[in-house]
């Protein structure tokens, strides 16, 4: 109650252009005991911000205080917000916080967080990630003090964080055939790294940009669909050269097996036309056999016979 009266009094004083009331004793002692850089210690912050402090023991950043071996600029409140001496002297106010995240530019937010997290393995590509380019900084997805989820201090459930900007992706996961993201079975980060990734090792290496790689250098699909990994004695080059998206829509599709076309033969024929200088031999991708009469339904279901379409050990035409 005493502090409340103090804040009211100092606010009224400031509004009348007068000098603020003298600091209460604990705060004055904190200012007097501040380091040369202006660090006063997190214990001072809890005096005026008990709501933040009350649940801070659940926060991963609390470790920086509990360990008691971090430097002041990497510990507790001031580890992120900067030295608080000026803020205490001014009796509060956002503008007196060296790093008030709601006032920082995205680049400044990024710099601030990367002071500690810049060398984490999953974030080493963050400066070149499309998110950083687009000004999507850490606090757009993470809520440091009020995260409602158990891990990673996300501002919302992970899929809702992503859907918040990628509404078209929400629609794809609402399709009849889809990966079970909405059902909570998998997360966006099972396949993507929102902090940036190295260049893809499939297609021409430029796209897609935020797909994490499995086993260090493969498409993330193979983390779960490990039977498609091989190595096979006879590889289907479509899988290895251009990747799974050559035939599949990874998020969701109206078509069975997440295929890009409703009928499988159209999918196959669009490449296997024998024309141009395409394919592994550079003279057109193998045309189907003349025995295949495309008027007949049996030839319109290519994978009825070419059952090992992702690669085969025993047949170069993927028949067994």
């Amino acid at each position: 109650m005493g502090f409340f009266a103090f804040f009211v009094a100092s606010g009224v004083a400031a509004s009348w252009g007068q000098q603020p009331a003298p600091l209460p004793k604990p705060l004055a002692e904190a200012v007097a005991g501040a380091t040369g850089e202006g660090y006063v210690g997190s214990a001072v912050c809890r005096i005026c911000h008990p709501d933040v402090w009350q649940n801070f023991f659940r926060n991963p950043h609390y470790k920086s205080l509990a360990l008691a071996n971090e430097k002041p600029e990497r510990a507790g409140c001031e580890g992120c917000h900067g030295p608080a001496k000026q803020h205490v002297q001014a009796s509060g106010g956002k503008t007196t916080i060296p790093a008030a995240f709601s006032l920082l530019e995205p680049q400044q937010v990024l710099d601030n967080c990367l002071k500690c997290h810049g060398r984490d393995i999953g974030r080493v590509d963050i400066r070149r990630s499309p998110h950083s380019q687009a000004g999507v900084a850490c606090n757009r997805c993470h809520s440091i003090h009020k995260s409602p989820v158990a891990k990673f201090l996300l501002a919302r459930q992970q899929r809702e964080v992503c859907y918040g900007c990628h509404a078209n992706i929400r629609a794809q996961f609402a399709m009849p055939f889809k990966h079970r993201v909405n059902e909570g079975f998998i997360n966006c980060t099972d396949c993507h790294n929102p902090h940036g990734t190295p260049a893809p090792t499939w297609r021409m290496g430029l796209r897609p940009r935020m797909v994490a790689q499995a086993l260090g250098n493969e498409e993330s699909c193979l983390k779960c669909h490990s039977d498609k990994r091989g190595p096979f004695a006879f590889e289907h080059p479509a899988v290895r050269v251009e990747g799974c998206e050559s035939c599949h829509q990874p998020h969701g599709s109206a078509n069975a097996k997440l295929l890009r076309r409703p009928a499988v033969f159209t999918l196959c024929l669009e490449c296997h036309s024998g024309g141009g200088n395409f394919g592994r031999q550079g003279d057109g991708i193998t045309l189907q056999s003349p025995s295949h009469d495309m008027r007949s339904p049996r030839y319109q279901n290519c994978t009825s016979c070419h059952v090992r379409i992702h690669g085969s050990n025993s047949d170069r035409l993927f028949l067994r």
Binding site: N55, F234, E270, M294, N313
Partner: protein, 668 residues
């Protein structure tokens, strides 16, 4: 902060597309203190129910919720208040659907500051796939997948860390596949298979701070085994085509195999305010040895008795090396430049000796072999310039080259015949973008990308493409609006073989949050795709050229969610989502199955009919949650799933399902 809280709570609730579990919590939001720990927990036990009309297989493929009692969800968090727990400082456990749901998961973390951290992610998925359009209804999969990832980090907050990890991924369950016998014009026969696949991965690594760098080393061993026996479903099989004479009397196929992919990953990182670099190198040496044995007995298409045995033995290998170097410069506050250069080199080499014994006549052995080598190099340079707080530009130049080497052939009775090919492909691409913040609540972002490749690998690959993206986000008080538009056009024309693809996606989302008790969210998304691709195929042994595959999809998706909590004890959620593909606009009655009668010489007509797939999928839902006691809530939910397709492939796949649950949410 208050506004942020108000925003966070309802959006957390909105994150529940399926009708259970309930996102609300029971008990004190601050938890209970016990000893030096704070405990926060909720457990939701309940009963799911379902009634279904229509195609059960399609429902299982899309939704798959059934009847029965479950632990629909639970959360447990135990945290030491001072960060100096004796055995642990944190236990966090979140589960979903345990007991009987098709989507079950458990996420566990146990951590003791300074000493260790253990993470477990366990998941189970039961899935049914009728796959009608893929293999004429002859392929089915009723499968169960289990995933588990264990990761232990020792000394997690120190400059020297050790990592141990184990991953297991298994797939099991019955399925149907097909086999074609006894020659290339033979019939297809259904096969029963009992899928048994397992993948195990073991990881061991360490991380150390050395001279201002962070060095991370990881060694992994990945092992994959498959032992899926295949057999006939019962007695002799007549084959899928009734006009054929083929009969398969008995079949035995064994093809157990095991593959290994041990790998190394090295990472070196240095980061400072003005400069950052990281170098990454990964090498994987995949190898697989295999034996295949198949014995089929029956009658061929000419009516002759056949007894055919095939054995294949051989190996495949895929050594892979990947590396990248990432450099970041921040020379001045308002400018950052990054360069990323990477390479990838994979060599896939395999072969097998094929032996066939036909009616006790052994044919000469043939050794078939293939090699496919892919080497690619990319360099990507990007820059971001912030003119002031309101305007910033970004752009980049990306260059990529890929060399593909191919060799394939066979050895037969002492002679070897093979062909070797090499081709190179280069891609240049440029990106430019603008980000504006004209006012505090409004953000506008526009960018465009242009790419040119000289020799794409496939007719559908990217060659001459451009993409334009636009995004607007606006926040004002209780309102939040975001809209996005994205177009991607690609043209890949080589001589007469043309491919063009045009994709346009537009979406808008509106959110109104009056308070934690009242909020509304609505969104609409439109995705258009049209492609034209040159075709060549055979009909009645005649080569048909100059045709085009024309595919048009117009996908409309909408969702609406309303949350009302008239007072503290009652919580009501109403939601609706619909996805509708209107195809190319043809009325549904004109859309026929992709089958042309034998007399129809215009096979392109069949192709045309196959190119649109109008379908709708909608799901309204409602959920009410009542607080009975400070530690107890009662929940009731209902969700309807309606699937309708106007394009019948083999038989009607439409269904209507009423699902729901009732549960008690409890905290102790």
């Amino acid at each position: 902060m208050k506004n942020l809280l108000l925003l966070l709570f309802p959006l957390t609730a909105a994150a529940q597309p399926t009708v259970a579990p309930t996102p609300e919590m029971a008990g004190s939001p601050r938890g209970e203190n016990a000893g030096g720990y704070n405990v926060l927990n909720t457990f939701e036990f309940g009963y799911r129910f379902r009634t279904l009309g229509g195609n059960y297989g399609k429902y299982r493929s899309d939704v798959n919720f059934g009847n029965g009692v479950r632990l629909l969800g639970s959360q447990l968090r135990v945290n030491s208040r001072e960060g100096h727990g004796r055995l642990f400082d944190e236990i966090s456990l979140t589960t979903q659907g345990l007991g009987n749901d098709p989507y079950q998961s458990a996420v566990l973390r146990i951590e003791r500051n300074r000493l260790y951290r253990y993470d477990l992610h366990w998941r189970l998925n039961e899935y049914f796939n009728p796959a009608l359009p893929v293999a004429d209804g002859l392929h089915l999969l009723d499968t169960r997948r289990r995933f588990q990832d264990h990761d232990v980090t020792l000394l997690p907050q120190s400059g020297f860390k050790l990592f141990f990890g184990y991953t297991r991924n298994s797939q099991s369950g019955p399925g149907l596949s097909t086999i074609q016998l006894f020659d290339s014009r033979g019939d297809e026969f259904p096969l029963f298979m009992d899928v048994q696949r397992r993948r195990n991965e073991l990881r061991l690594g360490g991380e150390a701070d050395i001279f201002g760098f962070k060095l991370n080393v990881l060694r992994g061993w990945d092992d994959f085994r498959e032992d899926t026996p295949l057999r006939l479903r019962g007695g002799p099989e007549p084959g899928a085509n009734p006009t054929d004479n083929n009969v398969l009397t008995s079949l035995r196929r064994l093809e157990p195999y095991q593959g290994e992919s041990p790998y190394w990953r090295l990472l070196l990182v240095r980061n400072s305010r003005r400069f950052g670099m990281n170098a990454r190198y990964v090498t994987v040496s995949g190898r697989r040895d295999f034996v295949f044995e198949e014995l089929g007995v029956g009658t061929d298409r000419l009516g002759s008795a056949r007894n055919r045995q095939i054995t294949v033995s051989g190996s495949g290998s895929r050594p892979v090396a990947s590396g990248s170097l990432n450099l970041s410069f921040v020379p001045v506050e308002r400018l950052s430049i990054t360069n990323h250069t990477s390479f990838h080199h994979a060599r896939m080499d395999g072969g097998g000796t094929f032996r066939e014994t036909d009616n006790n006549l052994s044919l000469p052995a043939v050794f078939n072999f293939q090699f496919l080598g892919i080497r690619s190099i990319q360099t990507l340079t990007d820059a971001v310039v912030a003119l002031d707080k309101r305007v910033s530009f970004y752009g980049g130049y990306h260059w990529s080259t890929r060399r593909i080497r191919s060799r394939e052939g066979q050895s037969f009775e002492g002679t070897t015949d093979f062909s070797t090919y090499t081709q190179e492909n280069r891609l240049h691409s440029g990106l430019a973008g603008l980000r504006l913040r004209p006012s505090g609540g409004l953000t506008v972002q526009i960018d465009a990308e242009l790419g040119r490749a000289d020799r794409p690998f496939y007719p559908i690959s990217e060659k001459n493409y451009h993409a334009i993206n636009g995004r607007v986000q606006w926040r004002a008080g209780s309102w939040q609006l975001s809209a996005q538009s994205r177009t991607f056009y690609n043209a890949n024309s080589v001589a007469l073989w043309a491919h063009s693809s045009r994709s346009r996606q537009h979406s808008v989302d509106l959110n109104y949050t009056r308070s934690a008790r009242v909020w509304v969210e609505a969104g609409y998304s439109k995705s258009h795709l049209d492609t034209k691709t040159g075709l060549a195929f055979f009909a009645a042994s005649n080569l048909i050229e100059g045709r085009q595959s024309v595919y048009i999809s117009n996908l409309h998706a909408g969702h609406l969610a309303v949350h009302l909590a008239p007072h503290a004890r009652t919580d009501l959620y109403l939601g609706y989502s619909i996805v509708r593909d209107t195809g190319d606009g043809r009325p549904a009655r004109s859309v026929l199955p992709p089958v042309a009668p034998e007399s129809d010489t215009n096979a392109a007509g069949a192709l045309f009919r196959a190119q649109t797939f109008p379908v709708s999928f909608q799901s309204p839902q409602a959920r009410i949650s009542l607080r009975l006691h400070n530690r107890l809530r009662w929940n009731l939910g209902y969700q309807y799933y309606g699937y309708r397709e106007d394009f019948r492939i083999l038989f009607d796949q439409n269904y209507r399902a009423h699902t729901g649950f009732t549960s008690l949410l409890w905290s102790f």
